[in-house]
Symmetry: C2
Subunit: 253 residues, 2 copies
DNA sequence: ATCATAGTCGTCTGCCTGACGATAAACATC
DNA sequence: GATGTTTATCGTCAGGCAGACGACTATGAT
């Protein structure tokens, strides 16, 4: 590493951007905020903001998440908590041209949350909305008036695509899909998470056998619920296992 | 995102650090450079340096890789080229305390290269060496005099550990292990790559069946070699497939 | 000639998955 | 209250793949 001359290093702004995913009405949705100023004024973007001078990257991401959604990020190693969301670093985007005003390096994070009430607008975002990821990624860029739609501001379309792909692949070999569920959930609800994230239809019987047969994935709570209609279903909590071995296979295309 | 006041954003230095891995003498090795100045003077560290004002992150990583090793990073999507190495972003490290002098955010990259002649010292590194990753990660921190050993400077021990874990898991489900091999290689050489990276012993017969039976993984070149002794072995090139499905399973612990 | 080394082809068994039949327990409707 | 609908759960069966391991081949070393 070069000798540091603090007056000589090239200055960068560092931000965090968030890909916040949830499953609503059988669709994978992401949080989008409407930009209130130039550039890209009026366009939709991912929530985010500057990293403060004495703040860790993960702390900055957790703070932004909390400001935008009220969600409280929890350590993946720790116990699930009320209103807790999974939060992990995704990737870093630093193309010199990605922000027309100045050199900005953005450390994108991925958050997975259960279905929530309407998002609250963050301090500086005019409005915040959940939108299906397809409408945010769609190259066509149409959508109902006022509803979030592509193209997103800056390189946020690419960041969102990377986050969605990370989520899709990670639920294959980890128990992360439970992060989309409330603290207690049924096998059917978990299956609908997989179906929404992957955009496929899964066989309920094979899915049930797989998830209940994987040690440490699900822990029965003893209760049952009929909130989905039909025969009452057992309730489960997420077990301690984080890695699924063998993995849950995503069906062929 | 907040309105930008270019004079108000907190200034950061942005660097790239490199985890460069190769397989030498049946061991997974990483490139380490000896620090010539404070802090951590005399300690070993990962190669890296500042991102230039108009340089993309991946370009900065490729430039540093070339400066330290002469390796030419190639796009994973493109064709393999002579002296080419796989290069991908790993993760970003931004703890406010990670560099005692100033706020530095480092975008770590992971490079995988075939076995090379001795590394050449980069411009500002006093010396550069390959060292087995265990000796660089070993908490004990012993080693022969002058040989790279733990603990590494800054948080480079953590970065290296993350890079090694990424490599270990990625060769499971991708054809990335071929990045450790010369352009033409035998099944046995590829197996020794897996054995070195995972630190296990694999059954030659099952391994042979698996890799030759996965479509697009290996392409026979027609030639044979006896450079490993024993019966001549067929030579292969890496095929077009990048994802292995089903994956190559890492043996249980 | 014999041995050591490394590569390659087969066989067998057990596990997992996908496809799908059958039964169970709730609610809605007639 | 009988029937249909919905969802959950258990079972069966065949095919595929991986681990264990036997057998044979082709080279160099002694």
């Amino acid at each position: 590493m070069s000798p540091y001359d603090p007056s000589a290093f090239p200055p960068f702004a560092v931000t965090v951007d968030l890909v916040v995913l949830t499953v609503r009405r059988h669709a994978l949705c992401a949080l989008a905020v409407r930009r209130g100023e130039q550039p890209f004024q009026g366009r939709w973007a991912l929530p985010g903001g500057f990293v403060r001078p004495d703040e860790d990257l993960s702390s900055a991401a957790a703070r932004e998440l909390s400001e935008e959604t009220g969600l409280c990020a929890h350590d993946p190693a720790g116990p699930a908590q009320a209103n807790g969301a999974h939060l992990e670093q995704l990737a870093t985007y630093g193309d010199p041209e990605r922000d027309p005003r100045m050199r900005v390096v953005s450390v994108a994070h991925l958050a997975l949350a259960p279905d929530l009430p309407a998002p609250r607008a963050g301090g500086d975002a005019h409005s915040a909305r959940w939108a299906p990821v397809e409408s945010l990624l769609d190259k066509g860029g149409y959508g109902r008036e006022g509803e979030p739609s592509a193209p997103l501001a800056f390189d946020h379309g690419q960041i969102l695509a990377d986050g969605v792909e990370r989520a899709r692949s990670k639920i294959e070999y980890s128990s992360l899909a439970t992060a989309f569920c409330p603290p207690e959930f049924t096998v059917g609800e978990l299956r609908r998470v997989y179906e929404a994230v992957w955009g496929v239809v899964l066989d309920p019987r094979n899915f049930h056998r797989k998830v209940t047969g994987t040690p440490g994935f699900l822990v029965p709570t003893g209760g049952t619920t009929t909130r989905q209609g039909g025969r009452p279903a057992q309730l489960f909590r997420a077990g301690g296992a984080t890695l699924l071995n063998p993995p849950m296979l995503r069906p062929e295309v």
